[in-house]
Structure formats: structure tokens, C-alpha cells
């Protein structure tokens, strides 16, 4: 931990490396110098070869594909921007965009809040911290397909969720057969999976806050809530933003939960009743791999990329803004967000 955080330690090798890189640049001009690069380049080749084959090529190819009409086997037919045009007119696509954002909002906001509370509790907890950390992280490494099957039973008409509701006198909810039931159950699954992961990230951020701040707060008579909102949150802002960015990227790519929950191997059930659980990636999968419209699927992938890029840009603006108003805390963030919406 300390070696990573200590700037003196981390700085030295970096400077050393820079020097060596300079030296190498001048020596490369000498005859036979190029051979010196073969060894190191070969040593790091597993990454760039694998990345070129499985990362870069598919990305470039999918861009090319989005201008073609292709069923996956036969000849491709160039259609220009038609796939994008059709996509913009496709009501199911826009429905899936709306669904994705609704599910993202329903899951991310409570999830980040819960994660913060959990991290705060973990931070003050003295005993069994390790056990709690493991317990919170387990959902994140559990197979989502298997968990979705379990959640399928929980949210069934006669399932655990409705039995619990009936115990407190509430009538059963159509978890898998009504618009907000579907979105809530998907959100709950996402929260269940990611809350522990984000709590651990928050916990790491919490531990970086000097204990003097907590002591000062205690001396000033702040209670737990005040400590959380006045001391911890402002200090945690970069970590919260990191969690928000990764949650956005993950949240906009929701797929497995909905695909397994609604038995997408059957026609007509993909996305559930009213296609309320149809997300962008699920629709992409349906069009490309069930209907064999690979060009359409590729175009959808690139529109999703554009959407995620826009959101990341917004997040990035928020992060870079924090340098200028470093005492503003979350409140200044909200103020700026409000101003942007007002524009």
C-alpha cells in the first residue's frame, strides 16, 4: 500500500525509465541498434498481438460492418448510412434506450448510496472486517446466469419477493409482468451484484482520508451523519466520480440479467412483456445473432458507443472541474450540473 502511495518511491523509477527511453532513441540510429528492440518488444508482444486480434480488429471491422448489409455468411452489400437511418426510425431501439436509462438510474443511484453507507459502516467496524469484505465481493464474482435463475424464482408470481410482501400485508406485485416490476427486478439484480464492489472502492477511498479529519469532526461534536456528509463525501469526490463513471459504462451495457430472466431462446419473450426489459445490448444481440442482421447490430453498437462517450465526457468535465473549486464538494457539483441542465 505505502509503496504505491509514496510519490518519492513511484517517481524514481519513472524518471529512470524516461532517461533510458531518451537514450534508446538516440542509440537506435546506430547500425544494428534496432536488434536491441526485438527482445523487449517480443516480451510485451502477448498483449499487443492479442489486443490487435481480439480488440482492435473487431472494433474496426464492426465500424466497417455498420455500413454493410450482411447475414453473417454470404456477400456483404454496401448500404451507406442506411443502417443508422433505420435505427433512428426504429421505435424498439428508442424504447430500449429509454429502458436502459431507466434501469440504469433505478439501479445506480440507490446502489452508490448503499455502497457509501456500507463502506462507512465497514470503515468503523473493527471486528470481522475481512469476512465482511469477502461477503460483499462475492456477488460480483458469482456467475450472473446462475444468479439470474435464482432471482427468477425470487420474483416469480408465487416467489419469495411476493411471499414477503404478503407477510406485511401488501398484495403481490407482477415483478416480471408489469412495466415497473420488470425494471425494479432488473435494478435489484444489478444493485445486488455491484453494491459490494463499489463499497470496497469507497472503503479504499475512506482509508486514504487522514484520521485527523475524523478526530477533528468528533471534537467539534459532529454525529455520524454529519461526518458522512460533511467530512467523508467531499473528500471522496474523485472516488465517487470514478464509481459513477464505471457504473455508467456497466449500466448502459446491461444484458445478461434481462436475457436470462426472460428466456430469450424463445421467440417473442425477449425483453419480457411489453419489451420493458429490452436493453440496448439485448436488442443488439437479438438483431445480430437471432435475426442475422449483423450490419444493423454493428450500427447499434456504434450508437451505444456514442451514447457512452457523451456520458463519459460529461463525467470527465465534472472531474476536471473539481481542480478549480476544490472546496466546493458535492454541492458545487450539483450546482454545476443544475446550471448545465438550465442551459
Amino acid at each position: 500500500m505505502t509503496t504505491v502511495a509514496d510519490p518519492a518511491d513511484a517517481g524514481a523509477p519513472a524518471a529512470d525509465r524516461a532517461e533510458r527511453a531518451d537514450g534508446r532513441g538516440s542509440r537506435a540510429k546506430a547500425p544494428g541498434g534496432r536488434r536491441r528492440h526485438v527482445g523487449p518488444l517480443l516480451a510485451i508482444s502477448p498483449f499487443y498481438v492479442l489486443f490487435a486480434v481480439f480488440g482492435a480488429f473487431p472494433v474496426v471491422f464492426s465500424l466497417y460492418l455498420s455500413f454493410q448489409d450482411w447475414d453473417g455468411i454470404g456477400d456483404m452489400r454496401f448500404v451507406g448510412l442506411k443502417q443508422y437511418g433505420w435505427l433512428l426510425e426504429d421505435s424498439v431501439f428508442w424504447h430500449s434506450v429509454l429502458n436502459t436509462f431507466e434501469i440504469w438510474f433505478l439501479s445506480t443511484v440507490p446502489m452508490l448510496f448503499l455502497a457509501l453507507v456500507l463502506a462507512f459502516l465497514l470503515h468503523s467496524q473493527v471486528r470481522f472486517t475481512g469476512a465482511y469484505r469477502v461477503a460483499y465481493f462475492i456477488p460480483n464474482v458469482t456467475s450472473m446466469v446462475a444468479m439470474t435463475v435464482v432471482f427468477g424464482s425470487v420474483f416469480a408470481q408465487t416467489g419469495l419477493a411476493n411471499s414477503a410482501l404478503r407477510l406485511v400485508g401488501v398484495d403481490g406485485v407482477g415483478w416480471l409482468s408489469s412495466e415497473w416490476g420488470i425494471k425494479s427486478s432488473l435494478s435489484i439484480m444489478i444493485i445486488w451484484r455491484w453494491v459490494g464492489y463499489n463499497a470496497l472502492i469507497f472503503l479504499a477511498g475512506l482509508q486514504a482520508i487522514p484520521t485527523e479529519h475524523f478526530e477533528a469532526a468528533r471534537v467539534d461534536g459532529a454525529n455520524s451523519w454529519q461526518t458522512l456528509f460533511r467530512v467523508v463525501l467531499p473528500q471522496l469526490r474523485p472516488v465517487v466520480l470514478f464509481a459513477a463513471v464505471t457504473s455508467t459504462i456497466n449500466g448502459l451495457q446491461i444484458f445478461t440479467e434481462s436475457q436470462v430472466l426472460f428466456q430469450s431462446t424463445d421467440v417473442g419473450t425477449t425483453g419480457g412483456p411489453g419489451q420493458e426489459g429490452m436493453t440496448i445490448v439485448l436488442y443488439l444481440w437479438q438483431k445480430a445473432f437471432k435475426d442475422h442482421q449483423f450490419g444493423y447490430g454493428a450500427a447499434m453498437g456504434w450508437l451505444l458507443f456514442a451514447i457512452i462517450a457523451v456520458f463519459t465526457l460529461i463525467n470527465w468535465r465534472l472531474v476536471s472541474g473539481s481542480d478549480r473549486e476544490d472546496r466546493g464538494g458535492i454541492r458545487s457539483l450539483l450546482r454545476r450540473k443544475g446550471a448545465r441542465n438550465g442551459r
Partner: protein, 435 residues
């Protein structure tokens, strides 16, 4: 520190080796003729679990009895992946299996790329034609008249019903009587109303209307797109199936449960659903879902006559290294004698009617109170209609199934749902060149 350096070096070496191996593998693409079995002494066959007899495949791996020197090695591919895997290998023109099993719904999706598969008539398929069901044989042909599939199994349909519930509701309960008295979908709906009023625990007739919609469709020789690539999903044969399904919902005789969900399992084992219309391959699923209802179920002819739902084919890809031998293997694997064995071992329903007369198929099933399923499914398989499936069937029918679910679960107005389904199907299909 010392051993750590070594292990890192070893790790690097291993990953370099792995990459090198992968590159070698990739550069091997297209070096031979593209077959997955190139350079080996056997032919490769892709199938999914349960689609072929394991015993027969084990024999074929050691040596196909009818073909001296031929060995065929089956590779099991998950059934959700096999279609994409076959497509991927065909697109890459590398590692294509010599033979592959194709599901009923998927054979037609290969019609636009029919040249990727061998025309089995050129290998003498016509010589064995009279051994197979006529409609199944015809379904192996592309619109241009090439035979790209070979009949594997069939999916004849029947009416599965709970004899006890039917009897206590005062309905006919003997399979012969049910077949005679509930011989149309309208009478089936009437039986559903009786069950809801007089049956014990007011059971529903069906779990959902999607299955009924599906079966009424399959009773029609026409589906959503015709052989000239025209959309015909807005015509009366579809509307009839739609109206019947909507009527079932209106009368409240559907339990409105998605098949395969925990709610479905609970309803089937708890006697909340009194019947279902589906294919022979659903027997094992039902036995797993509702073991406690064993003995209470019976089988009889489906209202308005039998249909075929599902079943598979085997294809030979154009990369097949030895088409003659591969076809000889097919004649052995899918001949009447071995189809009978596959039925006994895997419950794959034969497409060779000669097998139906064999005493081995006439075994009573205690789950159906000692009834012999073949007595219902055998005649059904022989009477199923010849149906044309276009490559765009699933694209075309998806909106209809979805809108039916919307009516069923969300209470959407049926007329609005019908209009939306037709519009969505038309728009999507027009982009695929279907008018």
C-alpha cells in the same frame, strides 16, 4: 527472488508460446480446404446434446459399420451457440465441420446461402426417399430445389390433457372420446370454459396462449412469408390463429404464465393447468416439471388435426472432405433401424414411418396411465402438413408473439396490438428485401 524471476520468465515464455500457437493456428486458416477435420483420419460432425444418439456416435467414432475405413467424430456444441458457430466458420471458410445438425427453425435461415451446403441429390439421396416422411423430405429443399438437409427427427404434436381434471369437470376423458368430441379449436375453448366452472380448483385450459397460436400456425401450410418473398402475415391464416388466441384470453381460460418459469413449474405440478398442445419432445420436460402428476396425463389428437413442431436435419457443408462417405454415414445413422434405436435411447422421434410399426416403439408409458404415445404421435407424424418456412420466419413472427404477450400480460388492446405487430413486421422485413 530467484525462483520468482524464473517463474516470470516461464510465464512470459508460456504466453509467447501461446500467442505463437494461436498465430500458427490462424495462419493455418484456409491452408487446406477449410474443413475442421483436415489432416485427420475422421470426418467432423457438430451437434448439440440430445440431438443425436450417443451410442451410435460412439460407434461411428470407432468406425462406421456400413462404410469400411470411415470414422466420424462428433463434437458437442451448446445448442444456443451452434448456429452462430456454424455461421462463423462458414464466414471464415475455416474449421467448418464436414457435417452439422441444424434445427428446424434454422434450416431456412441458410437458404440465402444455400451454396454453402451440398445438394444431397447429387449423392443419390432420391434412392432412400420412400423411407422418409413426405413432408419432412420436402422441407429439406430450398426454394430453388436443392436438397441441403437430411431428415433427422420429427416433432409431431398432440393434445396433452389431465384425464382426472377432465373427468371431474364432466368432460369426455378417454383419449378416443376426447379426439372425437374436442376436434376443433372452438370445442377446445368450450372445454376450457367448462374446466373453469366445474373443474376441481377451477384449472386453466392452457399455461399461455403462445403455444396455441404456434400450433394453429403450424397447422397451416402458409406461414408469414411465402416462397416469392412476400409478407403474408397480415392474411386470414394468421389472423385466424391470432383471433383464436385473443378469444382464449378474453374467456379467461389461460393461466398467463410463461413456459419454463418457476410459476409454470408450480402451475403444472399443482394441477392449475389441465392441458397443453405441443410436440412429442415436450414429454421429458413435462415428466421433469411435474413428476407427481404421473399417471394423470393422457395424449390425443390435437384439435383441428396434427402438425409438426420442431425436429432437426443434418447438413453436409461444402467443405466436407468426403461427401460420398459422409452421405453413406447419414444413410446408416438415420436409416429406419438406427432411428428406432435413437428413439429408444434419446426419445428422438423417427422420420422413418417404418419404425412406427416396430413393437419396440409400442411400449406403454406409465406417465400417461399406460397409454402408448406412439398411437397418437405415429399417425400425427404421418398427417402433418407440408409447410413452407422462409429464411425470415423468425424475424416476421417475433412481433406477433411479442404483441400477443403484451395482450396477455399487460392487457394491451388486441386490435392495437395486431396493427403494431403487422407494422413492425412489415417495416423490419422491407429492410431485408421482403415486400
Amino acid at each position: 527472488m530467484e525462483h520468482r524471476t524464473i517463474s516470470r520468465r516461464r510465464l512470459l515464455g508460456a504466453s509467447l508460446g501461446g500467442v505463437g500457437g494461436a498465430l500458427l493456428g490462424l495462419s493455418g486458416c484456409g491452408a487446406d480446404n477449410g474443413s475442421a477435420s483436415a489432416g485427420t483420419d475422421h470426418l467432423s460432425l457438430w451437434y448439440w446434446k440430445g440431438s443425436l444418439s450417443d451410442t451410435l456416435l460412439a460407434t461411428a467414432r470407432r468406425g462406421v459399420p456400413a462404410v469400411p475405413g470411415l470414422r466420424v467424430k462428433g463434437s458437442q456444441i451448446p445448442d444456443g451457440d451452434i448456429d452462430s458457430k456454424v455461421r462463423t466458420s462458414l464466414a471464415a471458410r475455416a474449421y467448418v465441420p464436414d457435417l452439422t445438425v441444424v434445427n428446424n427453425d434454422n434450416l431456412a435461415t441458410f437458404f440465402p446461402d444455400e451454396d454453402e451446403f451440398l445438394d444431397l441429390r447429387t449423392l443419390g439421396a432420391e434412392a432412400v426417399r420412400d423411407q422418409y416422411l413426405d413432408w419432412k423430405w420436402k422441407a429439406c429443399f430450398t426454394p430453388s430445389g436443392r436438397m441441403i438437409g437430411f431428415p433427422l427427427d420429427a416433432g409431431p404434436t398432440a393434445l396433452y390433457y389431465r384425464r382426472d381434471l377432465f373427468r371431474r369437470a364432466g368432460l369426455p376423458d378417454d383419449p378416443k372420446e376426447v379426439a372425437a368430441e374436442i376436434d376443433t379449436w372452438e370445442k377446445y375453448l368450450a372445454a376450457g370454459r367448462t374446466l373453469r366452472t366445474k373443474g376441481p380448483g377451477k384449472p386453466y385450459l392452457v399455461s399461455n396462449v403462445g403455444n396455441v397460436f404456434q400450433q394453429v400456425l403450424l397447422q397451416s401450410p402458409k406461414q408469414f412469408v411465402d416462397a416469392d418473398n412476400r409478407f403474408i402475415g397480415d392474411q386470414s391464416h394468421i389472423r385466424h390463429a391470432w383471433d383464436l388466441s385473443v378469444e382464449m384470453l378474453r374467456q379467461g381460460i389461460s393461466a398467463r404464465i410463461t413456459d419454463g418459469t418457476p410459476d409454470y413449474n408450480a402451475a403444472m405440478s399443482g394441477g392449475r393447468v389441465a392441458s397443453m398442445t405441443t410436440a412429442v419432445w415436450a414429454i421429458n420436460g413435462l415428466k421433469d416439471t411435474a413428476p407427481k402428476t404421473s399417471g394423470a396425463w393422457r395424449l390425443t389428437t390435437m384439435p383441428d388435426g396434427p402438425a409438426n413442431y420442431g425436429g432437426s436435419y443434418v447438413t453436409l457443408t461444402r467443405y466436407c472432405r468426403d461427401p460420398e462417405a459422409a452421405f453413406a454415414f447419414l444413410k446408416w445413422l438415420l436409416g429406419p433401424a438406427n432411428q428406432l434405436k435413437s428413439y429408444q435411447e434419446m426419445a428422438l422421434f423417427p422420420t422413418t414411418p417404418a419404425a412406427y410399426a416396430d413393437p419396440a416403439m409400442h411400449t406403454p408409458d406409465p406417465f400417461f396411465g399406460g397409454q402408448q404415445p406412439i398411437d397418437v404421435f405415429g399417425p400425427a407424424a404421418q398427417k402433418a402438413p407440408v409447410v413452407y418456412f422462409s429464411p425470415y420466419e423468425e424475424t416476421a413472427n417475433t412481433p406477433f408473439f411479442q404483441e400477443l404477450t403484451n395482450v396477455e400480460s399487460l392487457g394491451k388492446k388486441p386490435d392495437r396490438a395486431w396493427r403494431d405487430a403487422v407494422n413492425t413486421a412489415e417495416t423490419t422485413l422491407s429492410r431485408l428485401g421482403v415486400s
